[in-house]
Amino acid sequence: MLAMDYRGPYRVRLSEKPMPKILHPRDAIVRVTRSCICGSDLHLYHGMVPDTRVGMTFGHEFCGIVEEVGPEVENLKAGDHVLVPFNIACGQCHFCKQGLFGNCHESNAQATAVGGIYGYSHTAGGYDGGQAEYVRVPYADVGPTLIPDWMDPDDAVLLTDVVPTGYQAAEMGGIQKGDTVVVFGAGPVGLMAARAAWLFGAGRVIVFDHIDYRLEFARTFGPAEVYNFKEVDDVVVFLKKTTDGLGVDVAIDAVGGDAKGNFLQTLFGTKLKLEAGNAIALHWAINSVKKGGIVSVVGVYGPTGNMVPMGNVVNKGITIRANQASVKRLLPRLIEHVRAGHINPKAMITHKVPLADVADAYHIFAAKLDGCIKPVLVPNGG
């Protein structure tokens, strides 16, 4: 079968790989119909995530048709069209039982901090991902969810990650009616967070980025007040000024370690890799939230450490909430929201690219070319 093949930082290609096999009685094999490239894949693509091995196939946002199931799979059968949450979760460990499907203890041998994630380096379990014609799906009774008849597969594939992630970002913000919410990052995750903030009753939503076409999109998709951080002197001062000097109620980091802006963070985090990425968005979130406020982090950072103003967290009494999205937990609610027209995920898809052109799709998304917001890879016959 054909699959995306990582060759090193900034280098990917399509290769012929062996068909995935059932390796566990609860596995399924899924024929991929759609597979996105995510902002999270860019951390891998840029060589920022330790233990990213040459030859691995990325892709944690995919949907497809069940091809084969292992002997212990009960809820799925060949032919089912499913969307597959990016978390590999057993559904019965200490953490899954609490709804922490992003933190399963039975799916990642290489690390304990995070559960298994499809195609996301060996630090997230060493599973080949869905940017391929076929993919192995462990614990097939837990994650995969039937795509309702009425749902467009373009919406379904976005429910595997960015929609629940943006939604959980707002949820973790503990937004109360009338709150002012700032979202850093106008990528698909930040856009969804801005949209979801309203669902939780926000009174005001502000989005920061430095890419104008994305800000323009956020202005209507949020809808939100949008600002280019390159055009303001000091983001924190700007936010304080626009909130009577108090700061925002809730600050959401939807950027993560691939942030731009700030010389020192770029030097230490991006260039020298002494930090687990550039943490300037998190730094801004901590410093711009009001005392007693909540910082909600879904932006992804590496496993080492980052320079953030911890002293301010203490002195301001900030609550920081963060996690990998628990997709499975949120799906029922989000499917309702799509049906009710509260959210329109597929509006974010700007590029549909044949799997064969995976190298160009990565470059376009990474370099933010051609107005790209969300690219979707479609295998032949998908």
Partner: protein, 177 residues
Amino acid sequence: MTLPVKTESPSLVDTSTIPGWGVDADPRNDPTYPMRDQTQDHGLTRHWDRPPIQHPDVEILQSIEHIRQPAVVGTSTPPSGLSGVLRRTAFRWSESNWIHWLMLMGADRINVVEGVVADLAHARLPNIPGEMGIRSELAYNKRGFTKKVAVVAGVSLAISLLARGRRARKREDGTQG
């Protein structure tokens, strides 16, 4: 009020001997709800009912913070070559140790070279510009492309001039090497 016992860590302190233990506990003051649901007693212990265990036929490196192999494991790209040796070594340290991650990053870089060597060994010349998406760079970012080409050309020129200068100087001094 009794709280569900969630782990079986040894209880070094008998809470019943502490005056006032738990009197201020307030389940509603849980900033992690609804991220995690602690309202019900799920009977959580370290000994949850485990899924069947996968027996991988490839080498799996395992965090030393795990007390046992998780029930399923990924079998993509098992460690191999020099990068594999380095990865194995890295797993002697825990996730909270910098050296663990630094060694893995080092292994990743070596692995890239191994990938190219493997390609060549299979009589395949990797099309690196293609893998980097050069077509889209040309189509959507001509200026960036020209800039990059200019920088690469400039740097290579500078290096070759330097090298030539040094060689010429050495020849003049009559030194060898």
